[in-house]
Structure formats: C-alpha cells, structure tokens
C-alpha cells in the first residue's frame, strides 16, 4: 500500500480510499446484509401492459409450506393509507391498486424466511386482469385514446407543477416550452432550411448489483438499508408516506455496486417499509437481474429538429420538438423534459430558438435518469443533424461547428450567459487529436474507414443543496460526514482530498462516514454530476469552518494558529487528548427559474459541462459490421481533483454509451420486455472495446467549483452516439436516424442505398 501521502492532495491521482476493501471482496454492500428474524420478499408482477385487476387469488401460494404472508395493495393501505410516491408526481403505487400500467409492475409480494419458498409462492399467485387498450409509442401517446393515468398527480411541493394538478384525459405529464427570437420569420429569411427526425431506444442501467433494500421496523424508529443514490430523499419521502417526522426514519447506505441514475428516489424502499411494518419483522428484497428490466429504463425519445442556415453557413434559427417516452410512471422524467430540454439546440450560438419538450406516459416500464439525464438523446439528434447540414453545405464538419459554436460570454437558448464552459478548447482538442485537417486512410475493398466528431453541453440541475460536517479529533485525524453516495465514481476519495487540502492533514487521517441520515447531513442526491461541485463546496466550507475554529482555539490558549500541530492545540486546551472541533458547511447555488411561457432565465445553472467524442470506424460493407477502432473523449471538467479517477469516469461513461450506441436495446412485444437478461441484452465487454481509447480533460477552471473543479460523471457519454453515426456516413455514405447502430441497421441502409432494399422482418 502507498505510504502516508503528504497534505495538499488536491490535483493528485491518489488511489481510492476503499481500494483495499474492494480488491479483497470485503467492501460493504446492502447485498451482504442479514438481520435477525429477517424475511425475504419476492414480487408477483403484472403479465399485461394495461389492465384492471379483477381478482388476486393467493390461496395456492398461501398453502405452500414456509410462506409467512402474502401482501397486496389492500394490506399496504393499512400502514400507508395513500401509498403513492415519486419525485415530481405522486403517481406510483407501492403495489398496483385496481389497475396495472405496465407488464412487470409489482402486484403482490410473498414473504418467507427462505427466498426460494417466496419465489415459488410468488409464481403461484394467480391474478386475473381485464385488459385495456395500451399505448407504447411516445408520439402516439400525445393523441392516443388509451390514457395511462386517469388524473395527473403532481407532487404538491413544486410551484412550477401546480397547473398540472388534476388534469384528465392526457398522457402529457409535463410540457416544456422555450421561445427566443422568432424562428418562423428566420426560417423564411434563411438561405436553406434542414429538418430531420431522430429516434432513440429504451435501454437499461444494468448495475451489476441489482436493486436491493431492507427495512427493520425497530421499536420506536424505522431503519432502511438500501442501495440508493438519494438517502436524504428516501428519508423525507418515506416520512411523508407514513406521516412521521424525519427523525423516526433512518436511512443507511453503504457502497453501491453501480447506480448510473437507476437507484434514485424511491425504488424498493417504500415496499420494504410497508412489508416490515405489516410483518413487524425485518424484510429484505433483492431483485434479480431480470427484474431490473421491469424497474427503470432510460427514455426512448423521438426528436424533430429543424434549422435555418444563412448564406455564410450560420445557424440562424432552430426548432426542436422532443417526445420523451416516460413509461407508466413519471419518476424524474418531467425534470428531464425541462432541465435537459432547454439545451436541445446544442452548444451553438443561435439567435432564434423554439423548443417544445413533452414528458409522456406510456404502458412501458418507467423511465428515469441514466448517466446524462436526457442529454445523450438530445446530442444524438443535434449532432447528427449538424453533420447532415455540414455535408449538405459541403462544409467541413469541424469548421461548421467552429463557425456556430456557443462561446463564453454569449447567451445560451435560455438567455443565461455561458461561463467557464470550454466549448472551443474541447472541440479543438478532439480535432487536434484526430489530426482532422490531415488526410485520412479510407480503407479499400469491403472494409471502409470513416471518422466523425460530436460535441454536447449539459447544465447542472438547479437549485440543489448539500450539507457536510467535518469532525476533527484531538489527535489531528478527522471524520467527514456526507450523504454523497460512492457508487464507484470515487466521491469518498475526492471529498477526502478536499478536506486534506484545507486542513493540511494526510488523506489517511480522514475517514469518510457513509450516508446514514441519523448521522450524516442532508444532500439532495448523488446524480447529474452534481456532487463534486455542490458537495465539494459544502465539504470545503465545513473543513474551512473546522480550520477557523481550530485556529481560534489555538489563539485562545496562546498558541500560534497556523503553525502549531493540531494535537498540541487540543492538549493545551483540554489538558489531555480530548475534545472535538466540528465544522459545518452547506451549499446551494443561486438560481433563477425558467419562465413558464418562454423558458428564459438569466441564471439557469451553476455550471456547464462540455463533452465531445471523436470516432474512427471500419465498416464491413458485406455484413454491416461496425468496428470502432479509435475513440477520443475530451471534456471540460474544470480542474480535476483526482486526475486518474476523472479519466476513468470519462472513459467509463464513453464505453457505457458505446453499448447504448451499438448493441443495447430493450425489445418489447405487446409491452412485455422480451430480452430481460444479459444473455439477450448485450452490454459491452472487453472484446467490444475500441483498439484505442484516449481521454483528455482540457485545461480549465470552474470559478464557482471547489479548487476549480466541476462534475465529470456524464460528460463522456455526450458525443459517442452521433460521432459514430457521423463516422459511419463518412465511411460508407449511409445515415442512420435511430439507435442502436447495429450491423443489421447498417446493412439495411447499405442495401437501400444500392436500390436493393431488404424486406422487413
């Protein structure tokens, strides 16, 4: 192991704090948890996409030896009278009530001490449905007679959702609109107008640790152990459901075996709470890999984009219409529609912008955040569109982007002026690494080579709060209390580096206390690349507060504040190794909400993320096979706190997006997912890697961030899909408008281009 690191660790690639625990298999996950008297729950799920529940017959299941109890929505309502939850809409029942809205929705749960017994019994629960017409496509959902929810139920806490309360006969959960300038007049005045429609598919997070939660009813307070990215939200939402004060609900989160946006808000937590209160025993539910496919997906989307171009190659107007397939429950979809929706025109300086973005209910599994919060779908559309325009204008694609790029000091579509966003550096570094201006080997025979580039931008979700506590011990070591969840992104290490830097103590002297809502203070959630900036700032303030108190104590006892070793200050004050110094810090950025009608705001985000990818591909014209031979990921992450971890995040995000680009797609038949296993749903493995992957964080400073840093978890995903589609067109002259870019899709496009189209399946 590394020797004690000297203080001043910000900017250095120190190994992760938990490295040893992870390589010895001893790291703590909820999967390891066993509680005395614990019951296991197994879920009986809906077999139809939309239907009324006529009858639930539990007799055969109940008769099985070892079954403790079978629970349906009627039982849940005995402990939680109004059992609907969700971060933006209170639309999702803990177990289906009267109706099911997607195939795979939880209808009943069997409890048993032996999970095998519970599983067998769950398969014996017989449910009769009266099937209802269903809607699956997001564009059809706009006008479909099949309506997923009788009434919209926005959470009462958000003023911007109030107008939706009680709306009937609609699948539109939320519509977001942005108006800037006059697009119609600009389209008329434009030299050329281009319009394209793109689509993306449902994909899945697939954390290798599937969803898992346990609840212990306790005597006077409830404890929830959960693989969650949002412990503070879980506490507040469970307290709301139970009508209890926050201090009666304790939420503990150890390491996560991956999250990627899946493990946010409420997933299994409300269910295990209801079950534990009913059974008066601890209850654990661990989903199987298959069940993850019925829990949360990434939004499929249809994106229409139209641009007016002036004679000199400037984009003068852009219209974006986006339909997000939210599935049966809103989850965080409406926020994606809004808070990513406003970046739909991309990192371009466009005077006239018109955006309509719709969150739609359908009878598919619910969709939520997945590493990018809607941005990868948007970039897929606008960067494919951008390339198509450049080709039509016979302009170099990099030059066309350069000409239209949004730069610091200029207003984004919301009117918020771009700041600390290194759009130009990111674009130029990708181009330079690809030697864009130099000749490119194009292959021969049946294997053709091409290259493509794409750049995207993302705003941080705002406004959100983080709070941190630094507890300095008398020997000079300390604990950091933070509810940021380390799900692999390395936040424990980065936060400890910030404390180390401020207090001037080695990293080994810092313990990061994992989220426990009775112990660690509030944090909005670990999502949207927000932790480094928001929690990083809170941690920095907490450490500075502790340092200031230490120095004050030193002065009080007549010691030099900045030079006396920490243990000496405590010993002088308390006469022995005793006492604590507690520093606190909280952070919420300033924010101006977007105008309801125009989407305008002078301060829409605390910081901007910029990510670009360059791809070189080989396409086999006889099979349609695409091989990405080189992938270059460049991002503006501010000034990295831990450069190695930052690079791993960039590269990991890009490889994950490579899966969403080339192979991953959930397939459905009448709303039933037909490939719910890793055998049929292909995530990237070692053989799928490009031969060369290069990653770069450009030289940059985020002035509002801790030590110049900002978030990085998603930036690697932005450009991957369109860069590869652009490279495929460069190689073989066909343009794919839908993801994923499979060999079949490429081959079909090649045949169509040759005038010999293949028949549909």
């Amino acid at each position: 192991m590394a020797k004690a690191t000297p203080p001043g660790t910000v900017g250095r690639s120190i190994p992760r704090l938990e490295a040893s625990a992870k390589v010895t298999g001893r790291a703590e996950y909820v999967h390891n948890l066993r509680l005395p008297g614990m019951l296991y729950g197994k879920i009986c799920r809906s077999t139809v996409a939309h239907g009324r529940i006529k009858r639930i017959d539990t007799s055969a299941a109940q008769a099985l030896e070892g079954v403790h109890r079978i629970v349906t929505a009627d039982d849940v309502r005995k402990v939680i009278p109004n059992p609907y939850y969700g971060p933006a809409f209170h639309d999702q029942p803990i177990l289906a009530i009267d109706k099911v809205r997607y195939a795979g929705e939880p209808v009943a749960v069997v409890l048993a001490t032996d999970p095998h017994v519970a599983e067998e019994a769950a398969s014996l629960v017989a449910v009769e449905y009266e099937e209802l017409p269903a809607v699956f496509d997001e564009v059809e959902a706009m006008t479909s007679k099949a309506v997923v929810h009788e009434t919209l139920k926005p959470a009462g806490t958000f003023p911007d959702l109030k107008h939706l309360q009680g709306k009937k006969n609609t699948n539109v959960a939320l519509d977001f609109h942005l108006r800037r300038g006059d697009v119609e007049r600009s389209f008329k005045a434009a030299d050329q107008v281009f319009e394209h429609t793109f689509r993306t598919q449902q994909v899945l997070h697939v954390p290798l640790e599937p969803f898992v939660s346990a609840a212990d009813p306790g005597d006077s307070a409830l404890t929830i152990y959960t693989a969650s990215q949002s412990p503070s939200f879980v506490r507040i939402e469970i307290a709301r459901l139970l009508g209890w004060p926050e201090n009666k609900v304790r939420v503990k989160v150890p390491y996560l075996g991956g999250g990627f946006g899946a493990k946010l808000y409420i997933k299994l937590e409300a269910l295990v709470v209801a079950l534990a209160l009913l059974a008066r025993r601890p209850v654990k539910i661990a989903l199987t890999m298959e069940e993850q496919f019925y829990t949360l997906t990434k939004h499929a989307a249809t994106l229409r984009i139209k641009s007016g171009i002036s004679k000199d190659g400037r984009v003068t107007a852009r219209l974006c219409e986006i339909w997000w397939n939210g599935g049966a429950y809103a989850d965080i979809g409406p926020r994606i529609t809004q808070k990513s929706g406003f970046t739909a025109p991309g990192p371009y300086d466009i005077e006239n912008v018109h955006i309509d973005s719709y969150a739609l209910y359908t009878n598919l599994p619910p969709a939520g955040a997945l590493r990018g919060f809607g941005i990868p779908q948007l970039v897929w559309a606008y960067e494919s569109h951008t390339d198509l325009i450049a080709r039509a204008l016979t302009m170099d694609p990099v030059e066309f982007r350069r000409k239209n790029l949004l730069r610091n000091g200029r207003p984004q579509a919301t009117g918020t002026v771009l700041k600390d966003a290194a759009t130009d550096k990111v674009l130029e570094r990708v181009a330079a690494r690809m030697a864009w201006g130099k000749p490119f080997e194009r292959g021969s025979g049946s294997v053709r080579r091409g290259r493509g580039i794409a750049i995207g931008i993302k705003a941080s979700i705002s406004p959100t709060t983080s709070v941190a506590i630094v507890n300095l011990y008398a020997d000079g070591s300390c604990a950091l209390y933070s509810s940021t969840v380390d799900m692999g992104q390395g936040s424990d290490t980065a936060m400890a580096q910030i404390v180390s830097e401020v207090l001037g103590i080695p990293i080994e002297a810092i313990t990061v206390v994992h989220p426990d809502t009775d112990v660690t203070p509030y944090d909005m959630a670990t999502l949207g690349s927000r932790s480094t900036y928001h929690m990083g700032n809170a941690v920095r303030r907490a450490a500075e507060d502790a340092r200031d108190r230490l120095w004050a104590m030193a002065r009080e006892v007549g010691l030099s504040a900045e030079t006396t070793p920490i243990p000496d200050v405590f010993r002088k004050k308390y006469g022995m190794q005793a006492g604590n110094i507690v520093g606190t810090g909280s952070f919420i950025p300033s924010y101006a909400p977007t105008d309801h009608d125009t989407g305008q705001s002078e301060n829409v985000t605390p910081f901007w993320m910029v990510g670009a990818t360059g791809a070189e591909v080989e396409v086999d014209t006889e099979t349609g096979q695409v091989r990405v031979t080189r992938m270059i990921n460049v991002a503006d992450v501010g000034t990295p706190i831990n450069p190695h971890i930052v690079e791993t995040q960039l590269s990991g995000a890009a490889i994950m997006q490579l899966g969403f680009t080339l192979s991953e797609k959930m397939t459905f038949s009448a709303g039933q997912c037909t490939n719910a296993s890793l055998a049929a749903y292909k995530i990237p493995g070692l053989l799928d890697l490009p031969a060369t992957i290069e990653n770069e964080a450009v030289d940059s400073v985020e002035t509002g961030g801790p030590f110049g840093a900002k978030g990085v978890g998603e930036s690697g995903t932005f450009g991957v899909s369109p860069a590869i589609a652009n490279a495929i067109e460069d190689a073989v002259g066909v343009r794919l408008m839908s993801l994923p870019l499979t060999a079949e899709a490429v081959y079909r496009a090649l045949r169509e281009k040759q005038g010999k189209p293949l028949e549909d399946d």
Binding site: S13, S20, R26, A27, Y29, L64, V117, H205, E209, T648
Partner: protein, 161 residues
Amino acid sequence: MNAVHRTIRFRLNGEAVSAEIPAHWNLVELLQNCFGLFGARESCAQGLCGCCTVLVNGRAVSGCLHLAALVDGAEVATIEQPAVDGGLDEVQKAFVEAGGFQCGFCTPGFILMTRQLLDENPDPSEDEIRHYLSGNLCRCATYPEIIKAVQLAARMRHSKA
C-alpha cells in the same frame, strides 16, 4: 417446501469445513449463508458476468450455476483467501495501483480470473488478456484500467520471481 438436506465436507480457503445444506443451494448461497463470505456475488444469475467467480479445485467456476453440494470433498478458494504474507497479492496490488475498478462489485471475479490467467500464461498479450477476461463484465467499464492492472500484475510477479 421440504428441501432435501445433505452434509458436505470440503476445504475452504485452506481450512477443513463442513455444512449441512439444502440440495438446491448454489455455491454463492453456501458461502454467504454458512460462512459469511460475500466476495462472490450473484448478479446476472446466468454465468455471464463473472461476479460470482469462485475457484473449485483450482479452476474458476460461476458460483451462481455451481451446485453447492458438488464441492463436497473439493478445495474451494474465494477472494477472501488471504495472501501468504497476510497482505495483498501482486494482482490485488496491481488493481489498486492501476485503478482497475470503480464500484468494485465485479472486482473479485476479475482478480480471481487474472490470477488464473497469469498462472497459465505469465506474459499475456493485450489480446490474450481481452479474450481471457471476456467472460467478466464491468458495467462501470473500467476495462482499459483492468488491462493495465493485469499487465502490471504480470510485471510484479516477474520481479518477485
């Protein structure tokens, strides 16, 4: 459900042990329920991801597909088996140094497979590494760092030998 139980005796990480288990348990359940060992984890439950890797008589198996009863009389080794000197072995050290993991859920499987690879082939090429470890999945996609970790482990083993 009256499960058939049977008693098995085997060596676990070098110690002689026994357990009375339902005949339908898999190896992961045996390790977790009877011995409190959680380094082998069930994830895909189809033998496709490698998270449940366990060594049985020196060969890697998918613990989620391996019936527990079959290890009767066998030598079983898990990620929890300590190195000879009680610290980390070269492969573990190399994974730490190269940063060959993020969430860590798949890491025990990668480390066990890397040990087996280097036992068979002390100087694997990058291509050989990719092929040998292709049955282990890492959703955080820490693959480039894993390749570097394997190469570093090979070098560390050489300099030790």
